[in-house]
């Protein structure tokens, strides 16, 4: 695709997995209209790198070793440097990240699997001002049902039980009654066909559908 940009966009990559980062670096380097400015692993320090505003667009991974700090970093950067574009890249279908990304005014959001070779395309379009979001989170199969069959609340409760906290703690966090929580868990187990809360929590977490 012919590129009409008359200047070179400076890209920062925030990705803690070595292999993925190397792939992203390679993609950026091979594009003549993109320049790799910084490539870091620590999302917590990302906004400090933006101090001199020498970055036009950030490719931000959400999930790092110790938590989804990519989203928090995006929120900080968007607030302090609204002109810097951010594309969130993730392979995990955790359903609430889409919403939070929108809330923090992240420009684009791509899933690694659904994106093969067209990343540079998304970068160019985002720089031009387009906001590219997937229609929905990718469908994940858990047990006998699909993530599409679960209600928003059920997904929230599913995320909470992967922490191992008691029903009472979950109820107070979500401002719901304990019996409501128990009902949701019962429904979840019925829909997924899993026989125990443990199985439900583990399978849900492994699928990447819910990450706390």
């Amino acid at each position: 695709m012919p590129n009409n940009e008359d200047h070179i966009s400076r890209i920062m990559i925030v990705e803690d997995q070595q292999l993925v980062r190397m792939y992203l670096e390679d993609e950026v380097r091979r594009a003549p209209d993109l320049e790799l400015k910084h490539s870091i692993t620590n999302a917590d320090l990302a906004d400090l790198y933006c101090r001199n505003e020498d970055v036009d667009l950030i490719l931000m991974d959400v999930y790092t070793e110790y938590g989804a700090s990519g989203l928090e970093a995006s929120a900080r950067i968007k607030k302090a440097y609204p002109n810097i574009k951010i594309i969130i890249i993730t392979s995990m279908p955790e359903f609430s990240w889409l919403e939070r990304a929108r809330e923090y005014k992240v420009d684009s959001f791509v899933y690694k699997e659904l994106n093969d070779g067209s990343l540079v395309d998304v970068i160019r379009r985002t720089i031009k001002g387009e906001s590219i979001y997937p229609v929905d989170t990718p469908e994940v199969i858990i047990g006998d049902c699909s993530s599409k069959d679960l209600s928003y609340r059920e997904l929230e409760v599913l995320r909470e039980i992967t922490t191992g906290d008691s029903n009472e703690e979950i109820a107070s966090r979500m401002h719901l009654s304990v019996s409501t929580i128990k009902t949701h868990i019962t429904n979840l187990m019925q829909k997924t066909g899993f026989r125990s809360r443990t199985e439900l929590a583990i399978k849900a977490r492994e699928s990447g559908l819910v990450i706390k």
């Binding site: 803690d16 997995q17 070595q18 292999l19 993925v20 190397m22 792939y23 390679d26 910084h38 870091i40 692993t41 620590n42 917590d44 320090l45 906004d47 400090l48 790198y49 933006c50 101090r51 001199n52 999930y63 070793e65 110790y66 938590g67 700090s69 392979s91 992967t162 922490t163 191992g164 906290d165 008691s166 443990t198 929590a201 583990i202 977490r205 492994e206 990447g208 706390k212």
Partner: protein, 429 residues
């Protein structure tokens, strides 16, 4: 025809009836007395008793004077009796059978009343059938009432039935008001003071809480199991992040391996000039992609952590020096805290203190790791914890650590994190 003219058999029959009436009435009197508190029901039986008594006396008297033995008991008796003997037979009949009828009705009525009303006996039976033990006694120990269950408890605890209320009360007193019998039954003892007709009555009740106690014990055990499970689940939650990331890295490596293998095969085909060999351009692209991965470091992000700290500080105009060993890759939580703290320290140093040099000292002992940030900038007048510092504090406190800010003699941010049994994230359960 008068009574005396009747057949002897008939006369004897009248006498018998009177006697029977007499028996029935007396029984009725006895029953009423012993059963009911209100004694007004007693009048009818008393009446019939007197009547039948009189009639019987008369008839027997007549039998006597018809015989050869004749004794005058008293003038009054004679007068009444002689009059009665001479009365018409019908009247005599009435005076005999009517009392009989009345006494029978009265007897039946009394019986029904006993069966349908709450008598003293039914109250006592009720108390004795309760599952709860009840003891009532006066000050000093005099027993007013002790029901069956209470007697059983007394025998179980003291070896004999209760004779003194105060003594039994002493035998029943335990610190938590629960007593346990030999057969494992558990009773809860309660004391009450009653006022009955103006007089004080001490009451002791023993409630069977055996099942309740057992259920409570089981509930405690289940709660402990639940807590143990939750702890294991939290631990799993923490570990699963590591495992997921490792799995992803492994998957990527496998992909790379496959891609490499494919590239080799396709190149071989091209060299051999196979019919279906790909074009040179396609081959070039494939190799380009593959060769990106030719250097895969064994330890991901191992040396990047310190490098990025320096670079981030430099981007804010600060020259950072690190004194000590950075926490290793596997201590994810400590690295997270250090990153967040470094961020706050760098921002504060550059923005508020206009510093250009910052020092990070790391000291780790067996039970804790301590980070100390200090800079060469202005000393702040008052330290206020903005949003960043307070969320840092929350993060630190969630990990059982402490955070301290000092301004004198120079600005310092000191953070101390306890290390759990060996390395963080692997503590013995």
């Amino acid at each position: 025809m008068s009574y005396r003219d009747l057949l002897p058999e008939l006369r004897a029959f009248y006498a018998l009836i009177s006697f029977i009436t007499f028996i029935i009435s007396v029984t009725d009197i006895v029953r009423t007395t012993g059963t009911f508190k209100k004694k007004h029901l007693i009048f009818v039986p008393i009446l019939t008793t007197l009547m039948s008594c009189l009639m019987f006396q008369t008839f027997s008297y007549f039998l006597e004077i018809n015989g050869t033995n004749y004794d005058i008991h008293s003038v009054l008796e004679d007068m009444i009796s002689i009059r009665l003997i001479n009365m018409p037979a019908i009247i005599a009949g009435l005076l005999t059978f009517v009392p009989l009828a009345i006494s029978i009705v009265s007897y039946v009525a009394t019986t029904r009343k006993i069966n349908t009303s709450i008598t003293l006996r039914s109250i006592r039976d009720g108390f004795n059938n309760l599952d709860t033990g009840i003891l009532m006694y006066r000050d000093g120990g005099f027993i007013l009432f002790a029901n069956t269950v209470m007697q059983q408890i007394a025998v179980d605890l003291t070896g004999k039935r209760v004779t003194n209320g105060e003594q039994l009360k002493k035998a029943l007193s335990t610190p938590d008001n629960h007593i346990v019998l030999e057969n494992g039954e558990v009773y809860l003892i309660k004391e009450n003071i009653l006022d009955v007709d103006g007089k004080k009555v001490n009451e002791l009740t023993a409630t069977d809480v055996t099942i309740l106690t057992r259920l409570r014990r089981e509930e405690n055990k289940l709660n402990q199991q639940k807590e143990a499970f939750n702890r294991r689940m939290s631990e799993y939650s923490r570990k699963v992040g590591e495992v997921t990331v490792s799995k992803e890295i492994l998957d990527t490596k496998i992909d790379v391996h496959e891609t490499f293998g494919n590239a080799l095969l396709m190149t071989k085909a091209y060299i051999r000039k196979d019919k279906n060999a790909s074009e040179l351009n396609t081959l070039k692209q494939m190799w380009r992609k593959t060769l990106v991965f030719k250097e895969i470091p064994s330890d991901p992000s191992e040396d990047r952590f310190s490098l990025e700290l320096y670079q981030a500080a430099k981007a804010c105009g600060i020259d950072l020096t690190i004194d000590g060993m950075l926490p290793p890759y596997k201590d994810a939580q400590i690295r997270k805290i250090l990153s967040a703290a470094a961020r706050e320290a760098i921002i504060n140093a550059s923005r508020h203190a206009s510093a250009d040099k910052m020092d990070l000292k790391i000291e780790s002992t067996d039970d804790k790791t301590e980070f100390t940030f200090s800079n060469n900038g202005k000393i702040p007048e008052g330290i206020t914890e903005g949003g960043g510092l307070s969320s840092l504090r929350k993060l630190i406190e969630t990990n059982s650590g402490t955070m301290k800010l000092t301004a004198e003699p120079e600005f310092k941010l000191i953070i101390s994190i306890p290390v759990r049994n060996g390395s963080e994230g692997e503590h013995a359960e």
